[in-house]
């Protein structure tokens, strides 16, 4: 949990323009608050397997529920524990974000009003590493999004997306192959290598 959350913090810090104090950046990063609650909940799920951590659970589960409920009510971001989100996740804004029953790789970024969830049969999408998902996007159902793909704003995914492409439109159409999303992700080269080390260690 700590390594993944530190990677999230680093991603958030990548967007620092140098204009204000660091506390201001983190105080207004609404997605980071949601991610903190989510990482805590995931850590508690794994802590159930370690019996020496059992005394913590009755204290920490209410804290988790309180935090996640606050995030839900205040920002309307719902990162449910059935989602498996990799380190270095970035949520651009707040508002009507639903992430549940899916698998998301490292260094991904999503916008506001985005739904990533399973269809009615319960099979969820699998998203690769370093994927940029724009605002208003919908990924619902058992689709596989390849690594380094870019999904534009308001795109509705209705099938598998290959690696490194740019998709736009409803239904999604492949617009550009080999699209480099490094700039819009805001990833800095050195920070990415650091997060890889953090994820590996």
């Amino acid at each position: 949990m700590t390594a993944a959350f530190i990677a999230d913090l680093r991603r958030c810090g990548d967007f620092d323009q140098g204009g204000g104090a660091a506390w201001r950046l983190f105080a207004y990063s609404y997605g980071l608050h949601a991610l903190f609650a989510y990482r805590l909940g995931r850590w508690l799920l794994r802590a159930r397997a370690k019996c020496y951590l059992w005394p913590l659970l009755p204290v920490c589960w209410p804290i988790y529920y309180l935090l996640s409920r606050c995030v839900w009510v205040a920002y309307d971001i719902r990162l449910e524990l059935s989602a498996d989100i990799g380190p270095g996740f970035y949520i651009g804004h707040f508002g009507a974000i639903r992430v549940r029953r899916c698998q998301i790789g490292a260094n991904c970024s999503i916008g506001h009003l985005t739904h990533i969830s399973a269809a009615a049969d319960g099979r969820g999408p699998v998203v690769g590493d370093r994927v940029w998902i724009g605002a208003h996007a919908r990924i619902i159902g058992p689709h596989r999004i390849g690594s380094h793909a870019t999904i534009g704003a308001a795109t509705v995914i209705q099938g598998d997306v290959p690696e490194g492409v740019l998709c736009l439109g409803n239904p999604a159409r492949l617009v550009i192959r080999n699209y480099d999303n490094r700039r819009i992700l805001g990833l800095r080269e050195e920070v990415q290598s650091q997060t890889h080390n953090a994820a590996a260690s």
Binding site: D76, H93, G95, L113, A135, H136, V156, G169
Partner: protein
Amino acid sequence: MADARFYDCLGRVGRPGAGSLAWTMLHNRGLWMLTSHRIAHFCVRRRDARSPAWWIARLCKSFGAGFNVIFCRSQLAEDCEIDGAAYLSDQGYLFCGALSIGAGSLIHNRCTFGQKVAGGGAGRPTLGKDVWIGPDCVIAGSLTVGDGATVLPGSVLTFSVPPRAVVKGNPARIVRTNFDNSGLRRSLTIVPDVATDTL
């Protein structure tokens, strides 16, 4: 800040018999959002003249940003130039990074303008006067929406819209030119009859 035209948008939200002016203001979150935006905009515009009023506004602004997020569920860029008598929906989820919004425009909920709300940068659209923008629209990029244009619900614009045109779809296309949207702007219907019937 709160000019005479600001009160025009009260006329838009207040139905006849809806109650007093105070009651109307209390129940329209779009108006709260607009008020807190006007305070923040005043701070940004009058950065050089630091009167006592400026310091009070500066204090309100720092609360206003969080207030907009938690109670109005929207974010507006502080330097966005919203002319009076613009009506913003009270349903929230408006992410407005536009450069300017013209007078008399009606903007529904769940819209996104611009690629970034905070910090300025490229990709900020300009909305003209008297535009009608339906819910769930995305206008990202340095585009211009002409005066009197109508953007139907769920559109994603990839080009500048000429004045008085009607666009819809994702990606958007022009479905009609020289359309008078004054009837649409007078009501708050989300899916306009005129659009479903004839467009």
